[in-house]
């Protein structure tokens, strides 16, 4: 074998090894969760990496808990509301920030970016006071409000960037056609922003779906909890037992909708991401 061919083979080998490592690193925890969720609790501590005879008792147990189903419902409502609200607000904000020239536009954008850098913990106590004052404590609205606050800077920033890249003449053509700003936004610009909307909407959804800290702080009763908190609060028969099987089954159940969503919108997301990358 010539040295050149050898080098090429080795490089290729190294490349695939790297990919393998990355793959294991990324997928293994999730895979192991699935494996664990499919074992009866008696078999929990037998280490095995394959699914031999799947046992769905954990799933049955989780789905039989009314509070868990309730939590999924809450999470769905909260996440969908957050997405709708955030997209509506950020779309209109992005139209102003990306299309209209006004004094103080730069500072506003900088402020939006600056706000998004605060860690959650830093605003937790302040936000708690606000929510108490508004009488939203232990309601889904508390979560919707706080998640929207935290998603908006990101969605506004991304949509402003996309909006700024749409050609100006398109808007002017709409004006010549007699379109009001609202019509221009909804009938001309919005259809072109779909990929960006789907991308940011999905990311906002995932963030709201997975959020833990606010959900734990702002809700009290089972009937208002969202999924991450509900999972964390699943307890076993005794204080000293962690029902791993149940936890894993619940986690898998909660992750599957996200995976399905991503798969549905995958093509849109990709085109959204490149549409932003290729132009300008």
């Amino acid at each position: 074998m010539s040295p050149r061919l050898l080098k090429k083979t080795l490089l290729r080998l190294g490349f695939w090894c790297l990919i393998g490592i990355l793959l294991v690193y990324a997928v293994f925890p999730f895979y192991y969760a699935i494996v664990t969720s499919l074992k009866p609790s008696s078999a929990l501590f037998q280490v095995s990496y394959w699914i031999d005879n799947p046992d769905f008792s954990n799933y049955a147990a989780v789905l039989n808990q009314a509070s868990f189903l309730r939590a999924i419902g809450n999470s769905l409502v909260v996440a969908l509301c957050v997405v709708t609200l955030a997209l509506f607000l950020s779309l209109t904000a992005a139209y102003a920030l990306g299309r209209v020239k006004f004094r103080g536009r730069g500072p506003v954008l900088m402020m939006v970016l600056g706000v998004s850098m605060f860690p959650q913990v830093a605003v937790l106590s302040g936000l708690f006071e606000v929510i108490r004052a508004l009488g939203l404590y232990n309601t889904s609205w508390a979560l919707i409000l706080s998640y929207t606050i935290f998603t908006l800077p990101f969605t506004v920033w991304v949509l402003t960037t996309f909006m700024g890249q749409l050609p100006h003449e398109l808007e002017e053509a709409a004006i010549m056609d007699g379109a009001s700003p609202w019509v221009t936004l909804t009938r001309v610009l919005l259809p072109l922003l779909w990929p960006a909307l789907v991308t940011t909407g999905l990311l906002a959804f995932i963030a709201a779906w997975n959020e833990f800290l606010f959900a734990l702080t702002f809700t009290l009763t089972d009937s208002q909890r969202t999924v991450p908190v509900a999972i964390a609060l699943i307890s076993g028969g005794s204080p000293h037992e962690l029902p791993w099987g149940l936890l894993m089954a619940a986690s898998v159940l909660v992750t599957v909708p996200l995976v399905i969503l991503v798969l549905i919108f995958q093509r849109r997301i990709v085109s959204g991401l490149t549409a932003g990358a290729l132009k300008g």
Partner: protein, 379 residues
């Protein structure tokens, strides 16, 4: 009838004066072309008329009504953008019909109008296509259709053909001329292309640095430029300019220049003092060459062969060589010595500020430049 009138229109942007005291009258059915160097304010002027930018000073009147503060849709103007700016997600039909739909046109009449517009522009077969499935020329037509659909009295074009290749440009140029004949609407057209300007225009407006330099028919502008700028801007190759000074002012002027020596020209220079700097302008086609004897005359410094004609460059000792348009088989070569012969009637004289001196003889243009007949509207 005056369709559109600009009265001392001014435009400022960020402290810079972009248009200064622009006054212009445009008759109904006229085809007006704005030309000028890049950055002179052509697009700005067009956008002011469209209503996309606001006017800082002066009045804009359409049909005698002041429209400064009206929305674009209330002015009865349509605009075709350089980049077409078609709505990418709408079919050709929806692109053309969008404005009508927004104007709450009734459905059957909307359909009728869109189909009629499409038919005029030969887009009938493409109505269901999206813009990305069209060729450049077809997109261009859709853009025109969109501007026409609401039947505006005034159509504005901002360099509509500059994205097309040369042969398509010629084709579309002819189509626009036909369209104008057919619709009879007033059209204002911005272009960089001299051929487009000369062939399409009833009236050319030459802009320079935000000011109107001259307004007139293509022939007037070409044959009687009012300033050195207009003279140099129109025509390709450019008019030749020679430095000269006024030897004896008067109703006919005696002028002295390096190449021509002392000549008497039929222009009125009675306002000027003797020895003022002048410049003489002569177009390449008004020069003819003759072989020179011995070491007299000018040296040929370059020959450009274009197939139908040849441009001969002559070294005059100035920065720029003089260019002479010759027949292909005249046979001049680099290094030949030639004598210039020129037609005094076609010599232009400009003073130090670039203003053309008045010709003494009464200026009358040869007949035969009738404006486009504005036939009855078909749409």
């Amino acid at each position: 009838m005056i369709k559109l009138k600009l009265d001392n229109v001014n435009k400022q942007l960020g402290g810079a004066r972009i248009l200064r005291d622009v006054s212009l009258e445009i008759s109904a059915g006229e085809f007006v072309v704005f030309v000028g160097p890049s950055g002179c304010g052509k697009s700005t002027l067009l956008r002011l008329i469209a209503g996309l930018d606001s006017i800082c000073g002066g009045d804009l009147l359409i049909d005698g009504r002041r429209v400064n503060d009206l929305e674009p849709r209330e002015r009865g103007v349509g605009m075709v953008f350089q980049s077409y700016a078609l709505y990418p997600h709408m079919s050709v039909y929806d692109n053309i019909g969008f404005g009508l739909k927004l104007a709450k046109t009734e459905k059957t009449s909307l359909r009728e109008r869109v189909l009629k517009t499409a038919q005029i522009l030969q887009l009938d077969k493409l109505l269901q296509r999206k813009p990305r499935e069209l060729s450049g020329g077809q997109r261009q037509r859709v853009a025109m259709g969109r501007a026409m659909a609401r039947e505006p009295d005034i159509l504005l074009f901002d360099e509509p053909l500059s994205n097309l290749d040369a042969s398509l440009r010629v084709q579309m140029r002819n189509e626009i001329a036909r369209l104008h004949g057919r619709l009879g609407s007033t059209m204002i057209y911005v272009t960089h292309d001299q051929v487009e300007a000369m062939t399409l225009a009833d009236k050319i407006v030459v802009l320079n640095g935000g000011r109107i330099e001259q307004v007139g028919s293509p022939r007037e502008l070409y044959e009687r430029p009012a300033s050195r700028f207009v003279a140099g801007f129109l025509g390709s190759p450019r008019m030749n300019f020679l430095a000269a000074f006024l030897h004896a002012p008067g109703e006919t002027s005696q002028v002295e220049s390096l190449v021509l020596g002392r000549t008497t020209l039929p222009v009125d220079s009675s306002d000027l003092a003797a020895n003022t700097q002048l410049s003489l302008g002569i177009r390449p086609e008004h020069l003819s060459l003759k072989a020179a004897q011995g070491t007299t005359g000018l040296v040929v410094s370059g020959v450009e062969y274009l197939g139908s004609e040849t441009y001969v460059h002559l070294d005059t000792g100035q920065d720029e060589p003089m260019v002479c348009r010759c027949e292909v088989n005249a046979g001049w070569r680099i290094g030949d010595r030639v004598e210039l012969q020129l037609d005094i009637d076609n010599l232009h004289v400009f003073d130090a500020h670039g203003t053309a001196l008045k010709r003494r003889a009464i200026e009358s243009l040869p007949a035969g430049v009738a404006p486009h007949p504005a036939s009855a509207g078909v749409l």
